[in-house]
């Protein structure tokens, strides 16, 4: 009996340590934003200030890279969403030989290191006269983000009742009308969540972007370069803003997804 009590005690300690490990670094990073010190730290605490937020606001390089990041993210949505949806439609419609090969090909970008995707895109487009920049970043990021979109849309599509399609066709609808009026509305929630995920994936990407961004620095590339040269707590201020933004989006997304799941069960 006492050994099981020891286990449950040890387990609670493990849980506390695990979540401290998960959150303490983020809290310390956030706290350092409000420290007067020139170098981001919490020890020693030299005075509480909000001036690093105004330093961030006045940083032109940050705004430029933010604009680039947003442009890239919108580009990724325009490219990866149609591709992902098309692939999901393809995989849930066909069967036969070749299919498992295409499936493996579709999943391969998820199992390829991000740097390789960036490098191969950079090399390929040089021969066509396209150098690193926003366009290339969109192409390289979409190469793997489209696979995430495909997985999310396909998951919903697998539960689709094909008899709805047949009924509409029997009642005289054209195939385009079936797609437009039945399939797309059914897929809408999955496409919306995929869009949120794709947008955040694009915004956060570093390993692939590093190779293809050229002079069009994105936000993550900018942060990394700041950490190595010219690090001030303004970087923490930026981190804090980004965390609040992504966590806000993530919580909304998660709650929506759960409500959806609950509705499906009911």
């Amino acid at each position: 009996m006492s050994s099981s009590r020891f286990f449950s005690w040890a387990f609670k300690a493990y849980l506390v340590i695990f979540f401290a490990y998960l959150f303490l670094p983020l809290l310390i990073m956030a706290a350092a934003t409000f420290n007067e010190s020139r170098f981001p730290t919490v020890t020693p605490w030299t005075g509480t200030t909000l001036r690093w937020f105004s330093a961030l606001w006045a940083d032109g390089g940050m705004w430029d890279s933010l604009a680039n990041s947003l442009l890239v993210a919108v580009g990724v949505l325009c490219l990866a969403l149609p591709i992902g949806v098309a692939s999901a439609l393809f995989l849930t419609t066909v069967d036969g030989r070749g299919k498992s090969f295409i499936y493996a090909l579709i999943l391969s970008p998820l199992l390829t290191p991000g740097v390789i995707i960036g490098i191969s895109t950079l090399i390929f487009w040089r021969d066509w006269g396209v150098n690193g920049g926003i366009a290339l970043t969109v192409i390289a990021q979409s190469a793997f983000i489209a696979a995430y979109v495909m997985l999310m849309v396909a998951a919903r599509l697998q539960r689709f009742d094909r008899t709805l399609e047949r009924a509409a066709l029997d009642l005289g609808a054209s195939q385009w009308q079936v797609f437009r009026r039945i399939l797309l509305p059914y897929l809408r929630p999955a496409i919306l969540s995929a869009a949120v995920l794709a947008f955040l994936q694009s915004l956060e990407n570093y390993n692939t972007t590093l190779f293809v961004a050229g002079y069009d620095t994105t936000l993550t590339v900018y942060i990394a370069s700041k950490v190595r040269t010219g690090l001030t707590p303004a970087v923490n201020a930026l981190a804090l803003v980004m965390i609040v933004f992504t966590v806000g989006l993530a919580v909304i997304y998660e709650l929506k997804r759960r409500r959806e799941a609950a509705r499906r069960i009911a």
């Binding site: 998960l22 591709i83 740097v115 191969s120 390929f124 054209s174």
Partner: protein
């Protein structure tokens, strides 16, 4: 395949589907990879010389790698450290995944999962930067150890591999927890109870019941973690030092400092081969297919 698509969607939609997938898989995935491999087997030439007499198929770029002891050492260090990161992550994640799937009440599990997901949404650079602050020479960790009387002068955490390992386990832990959790959750709890009733201890129950059932999850988690660790640029660049370089940093240098793309392509291909070999070996050992990984 064409016929199945055509009968369901009609001609215009089928053409749209096929051309979108064609652009993706051929222009964005296959051809670039092919071009990278092709580059790696050619010498670096001036644009004017390309296609000329000097533009021959050669193994020079690979010979350079195998004759460079420093690069070889970094390559093997990257493999070894990534395996270490993967193992550490598995050990740290397994109890939590088991707790979430089988011990916690639904409410507790839902709360824990939400808490786990939050850092997962935060960018890798920022998560790594957080550790950069903690590990700084006069940062909180040194101050804490000093206050506890464990050290009498600050340690340079950012000078070796420790920082990189801790940062990587931190950055990739969720790619391990979620596949493990999904796998363990699908295990019928009665099986655990039966094993316990028949007298199996905790160790034996896990070894014979839970772990065999969780195999696809373990495989997926290990593949994702290894791939992310071996291919990481952000963590070693921020938390490492010149003495603890990662293979991706060598690749980067060939491209943007050495200016030798052909050489860089060869190194990138070696990294890709390493990941393919790892994925294949793990899939063989755990007897899982691609379909299991996609879940």
């Amino acid at each position: 395949m064409w016929r199945q698509l055509h009968s369901r969607f009609g001609l215009p939609l089928t053409m749209a589907i096929v051309s979108l997938m064609g652009i993706w898989l051929i222009v964005m995935v296959l051809l670039p990879q092919w071009q990278m491999i092709d580059y790696s087997f050619h010498p670096a030439l001036l644009p004017a010389e390309r296609g000329g007499a000097k533009d021959v198929w050669s193994l020079t770029n690979y010979a350079t790698f195998f004759h460079n002891e420093i690069h070889l050492a970094i390559f093997f260090k990257t493999i070894w450290s990534s395996v270490l990161v993967t193992t550490l992550t598995l050990i740290v994640s397994y109890p939590l995944a088991y707790y979430l799937a089988k011990v916690a009440t639904p409410g507790q599990a839902a709360l824990c999962l939400l808490l786990l997901i939050i850092p997962f949404w935060i960018n890798e650079i920022l998560r790594t930067f957080a550790w950069y602050i903690i590990f700084a020479f006069r940062g909180p960790l040194n101050e804490l150890l000093f206050a506890l009387g464990l050290i009498d002068r600050p340690i340079r955490f950012l000078n070796g591999d420790t920082g990189v390992l801790v940062g990587m386990v931190y950055a990739y832990i969720l790619f391990m927890v979620f596949p493990l959790y999904n796998a363990i959750e699908s295990l019928d709890t009665n099986q655990i109870r039966a094993a316990r009733d028949l007298g199996a201890g905790w160790g034996r129950t896990h070894r014979r019941i839970v772990i065999p059932h969780a195999k696809p999850g373990i495989a997926t988690g290990c593949i994702m973690t290894f791939m992310l660790a071996a291919g990481s640029y952000a963590v070693p660049a921020l938390l490492g030092s010149p003495g603890s370089r990662w293979f991706t940093q060598i690749i980067y240098n060939w491209f943007f400092e050495g200016g030798d793309w052909n050489q860089g392509a060869a190194y990138a291909f070696l990294l890709l081969m390493l990941c393919i070999v790892f994925v294949t070996v793990i899939m063989r050992i755990f007897k899982v297919g691609l379909g299991d990984i996609a879940k």
